[in-house]
């Protein structure tokens, strides 16, 4: 019986506690520690002693205080009411905590994630006599204006329906009764460290559109794919992750603020309710769940936060939704793992991280994917983008390297671009994606046939610029041939007018693929025509002074619906101007 096994504290060191007398306790079982009942989890059992990681501040604990086992693994509550919520790493709702304990977080306070009073209008999708399987859609609740929450039969449960109760109900009210007498409510629990089951995986062949030109065009990832975003401090990881949360094409966003700044999350809380989801017109907050464990909140709960986040994401995926999970930052999670490992006196691997770091990261990223859910109804996907904070911006460190082995794309942020205020500071020479070939068909079919060829041409131009820059560094720009200098100029326009994107500009902040393609077409047209003019003997100076660079650099500010026309007009202007400056 849960709660029957009582132990006592024999050792306390930071967030880890050792207890004795917890007979029969299981690994990863949740325990309540001390007189205040702090939440903890069993992470090692040796002899008669269990080592616990405690999710709250341990100061003040005394040896001999009681420890109670609960018989359950660490689990989250799932059901209507998650969207728009802000929860901590172990899914305590921060709003409700503030209402109970004030402006500062006080330990030992538990509060269920889902509001027990709120009533939801339940519309059944099953009738008495139906045979139900785990994962089936038992009914629906209109959770927000734009999202229907599908009430799923918990995985593993099955039976024939005896009675159905439609209408308003709280998350704990019975909505279905099965013939064997078991009842179902809208609330279910799922252990966070266990992947939620699905019917089968699907090949990732549709893109996860981010609204960022450099990503969607050069380094796209698939819906259900994974990308990592490493970068030193100040390179814009958080701005990029938040921009993705705002503009990425997804039904639900789960944003995990893992060991990062409080003011940043306040920023999200201030902005998301105001900003509109570009796809539905509803406030962004209504499609978002925030899991927040800032750097000054307990380290063990930080370790749990990414699992809480991905479990919530999987739950919405199982309703056949496209879900995006952002984790900022996985390095802080790894550090929490390292800190706990060190307290266990485990033999350290590289840089003090435990030897199982790569395994855990692998298991985490593998929970992303595009699947047919248990309901067999349509498909759902969880796309994961994880920020990495390498010490000193050095990507050779263990967390970046271990992440690279499992992630499908690398979006590398560099300090050099950030110092130039080139944002997003994604380094096009270092970044890669393994999804490009699989996604090419989609882009050519949905956006334009020239997609792949223009992308190739743009990448070649950037590559050529890099080679030329090395020479410029040695001999100076004046010593370069005009043919080379026009390449440098075209590459500059591509970098500053296309790759750079202003996250704070109303129009430029998000860019659909059609607009990206039109911009690329225009800029590359200039590159080709200007090079041809030089070949025909037109003076470089005249081309540079013709004032074509300004409109090209401002293309991002043109609204998407006017882009096609604006691009065509500019192409004509380029042709006219170049014809005028010379070269027959």
């Amino acid at each position: 019986m849960p709660g029957s096994s009582a132990g006592s504290i024999v050792r306390v060191s930071g967030p880890t506690v050792v207890a004795e007398g917890l007979e029969g306790v299981a690994l990863n079982e949740v325990v309540r520690v001390g007189r205040d009942g702090l939440l903890g989890e069993v992470i090692r059992i040796r002899g008669g002693q269990a080592t616990l990681q405690v999710y709250e501040e341990t100061a003040g604990l005394v040896l001999g205080e009681p420890v109670d086992a609960t018989g359950e693994p660490l689990a989250v509550e799932l059901g209507p009411g998650l969207l728009g919520q802000v929860v901590d790493g172990i899914e305590r709702p921060l709003d409700a905590l503030a209402a109970r304990t004030g402006d500062f977080i006080v330990r030992g306070v538990m509060h269920p994630a889902l509001d027990r009073q709120r009533r939801w209008h339940f519309v059944p999708r099953v009738d008495p006599g139906d045979q139900l399987q785990g994962g089936a859609v038992a009914g629906v609740v209109q959770e927000t204006a734009s999202l229907v929450h599908r009430i799923l039969v918990p995985p593993g449960l099955s039976g024939r329906v005896r009675a159905v109760t439609p209408g308003d109900a709280t998350v704990t009210d019975p909505i279905l009764v099965l013939e064997d007498g078991r009842t179902l409510s809208m609330l279910q629990r799922w252990p966070v460290r266990q992947r939620r089951p699905f019917l089968r995986r699907l090949t990732p062949e549709r893109p996860f559109l981010t609204g960022q030109r450099v990503l969607d065009v050069f380094f796209p990832i698939a819906a259900g794919g994974t990308a990592i975003v490493p970068g030193g401090f100040g390179t814009g990881k958080t701005v990029l992750e938040q921009t993705l949360a705002k503009f990425a094409a997804a039904d639900v966003i789960v944003y995990v603020g893992c060991g990062e700044r409080g003011n940043e999350m306040t920023d999200v809380l201030a902005e998301f309710p105001r900003l509109k989801d570009p796809r539905t017109g509803s406030p962004l907050m209504e499609r978002t769940v925030l899991v927040v464990n800032t750097s000054n909140m307990p380290v063990a709960a930080r370790e749990a936060s990414i699992y809480t986040g991905i479990t919530l994401a999987e739950y919405f995926r199982d309703m056949s939704y496209q879900v995006a999970l952002m984790v900022d930052s996985t390095s802080r999670w790894a550090e929490a793992l390292r800190e706990i490992s060190a307290r266990l006196s485990e033999m350290p691997g590289e840089e003090g991280y435990p030897t199982y770091l790569a395994t855990r990261l692998g298991q985490f990223y593998e929970r992303a994917g595009r699947v047919v859910p248990l309901s067999g109804d349509g498909e759902g996907a969880v796309t994961v983008t994880g920020a990495v904070s390498p010490p000193g911006g050095d990507f050779s460190e263990p967390v970046t390297q271990a992440s690279l082995r499992v992630a499908g794309a690398l979006w590398a942020l560099t300090t050099d671009l950030a110092h130039r205020r080139h944002f997003p500071a994604i380094d096009w020479t270092q970044s890669f994606t393994l999804y490009a070939d699989r996604l090419a068909a989609w882009f050519e079919h949905e956006v334009g046939e020239e997609w792949a060829s223009l992308r190739q041409e743009a990448m070649r131009l950037l590559e050529r610029e890099r080679e030329l820059q090395e020479i410029v560094q040695l001999v100076g720009l004046e010593a370069m041939q005009d043919q080379e200098r026009i390449v440098l100029e075209a590459a500059r326009l591509l970098r500053e007018g296309f790759l750079r994107q202003n996250a704070f500009h109303d129009v430029d902040a998000a860019c659909l693929p059609a607009k990206s393609l039109a911009m690329l077409r225009t800029i590359l047209h200039f590159a080709r025509r200007a090079a041809a003019s030089i070949e025909r003997g037109a003076p470089l100076r005249a081309i540079l002074a013709a004032g074509l660079d300004e409109p090209l650099l401002r293309l991002g500010e043109v609204p998407g619906e006017r882009m096609e026309a604006a691009g065509a007009a500019l192409v004509a202007e380029i042709d006219d101007t170049l014809a005028r400056v010379g070269g027959r």
């Binding site: 050792r11 100061a59 003040g60 001999g64 030193g232 401090f233 100040g234 000054n296 100076g476």
Partner: protein, 492 residues
Amino acid sequence: MDLVTRLARSATAIAGPLLFVEGVRSARLGEMVWIRLDAGESRRGQVIELSETHAVIQVLEETRGIRPARAEVAFTGRMATLPVARQMLGRTFNGTGEPLDGLPPVVPEAVLPIAGSAINIVRRERPSEFIETGVSAIDGLNTLVRGQKLPIFSGAGLPAHALAAQIVREARVRTGEPFAVVFAAIGIPFREADYYLHAFEGSGAQERTVVFLNLADDPTIERLMTPRCALTTAEFLAFTHGMHVLVVLTDMTNYCEALREVALAREEIPGRRGYPGYMYTDLASLYERAGKIRGRAGSVTQLPILSMPDDDITHPIPDLTGYITEGQIVLSRALEQKRLFPPIDVLPSLSRLMNLGIGGERTREDHRAVADQLYAFYARGRDVRRMAAIVGEAGLGDDERALLAFADRFEAEFVGQGDARRSIEETLEVGWRLLGAFPPEALTRIGRALIERYRPQGETDGAGAVDADGAARHPGAPAGGAAGGRAAPEQA
């Protein structure tokens, strides 16, 4: 308060700052203890680990002369706390909060645990109020806002103290709301502490300042308490008395070294350069104590100062700090050698909250665009300077010459303002004057309407006005004709 003090005479070992006491079953993690020596003297400590066999005590004062076998350890049952009061304004305390000025202890309005608690983020208020520091490189390009934590990354011999003192002096709240300064000296030499104290005195800010002093010859482990005492006081003044509090913590490098000393004495597995793996979390427990709370009037703004060992920004101390704080102001030895003050290298400097504090209603509508344009030209100018060092000035084109001249003038006129104060309008005017060297169509980061409204009229303002030769070929050479020579006051 627990009045039952438990005594133990079972100390068995001392190692560095740690005392091991056996068979104490009733100690609390984090509680304060007194260690009484046979000579009658007492020293303070704190319980940092508990196990069946022993309790580990971190001794906050000098460990010299402690004989474990003769020491008597009194467990107070109290966590580390600090009595706080509004009266602390104008007073000076040691690193653990005891008066140093010869005056009696303050009459406490509250006794608060110095460890602090995390602000529930749903109750945090988004920082948005511009603080005018009078320094162009900060106000114009890396704006400080109330509730922000913005460290200064310094190096040995760089004038972080002069810059910090200038900010404290100038960053007054113009609207007449109550403000206070909490100053924590962490392991700095007397000379430097004395400089700050005189600077506060000279600015009339003294009676609004609370000082916590842990000097270079004070106990190392006390340094772990000093910033926490300062922040506890700051939070009390801000959130109970509604004051806008600026907290100066200097030097965080000394704090981190104390942290490392304790960690290694505990035989923990060291992380990078011997610093403990939890240093990020520990630093966050300090830096995150900045901000504003909804519905409360005051704010806590932090200005931590740290020395980058060997000017290395990738060293764990600046690196972890930069990951937690909302930007950084980086001082540059190259600019210092050009005798420019303040020697702020704006390229690696950053204020993450800048956009919240600037714009039409707060500073001026062209602020963001001007800052972006200055950054863009300066970054390119620096590239050209690097290139010119290799290929020589003769290999440069006209555009590059213009960028090079701009970089020199930007450093000399915009950044190197000396100790004069500039309003934000003056800062932006200097910016526009420098941008005047380029034709309007080159200002691609600025909207056309803003260019029309703010760009000074007239043709391009002689781009080659500054003799750039020397600076370009020998980056260390002084720039000619600069507006601001080095104006940092010499240290006392």
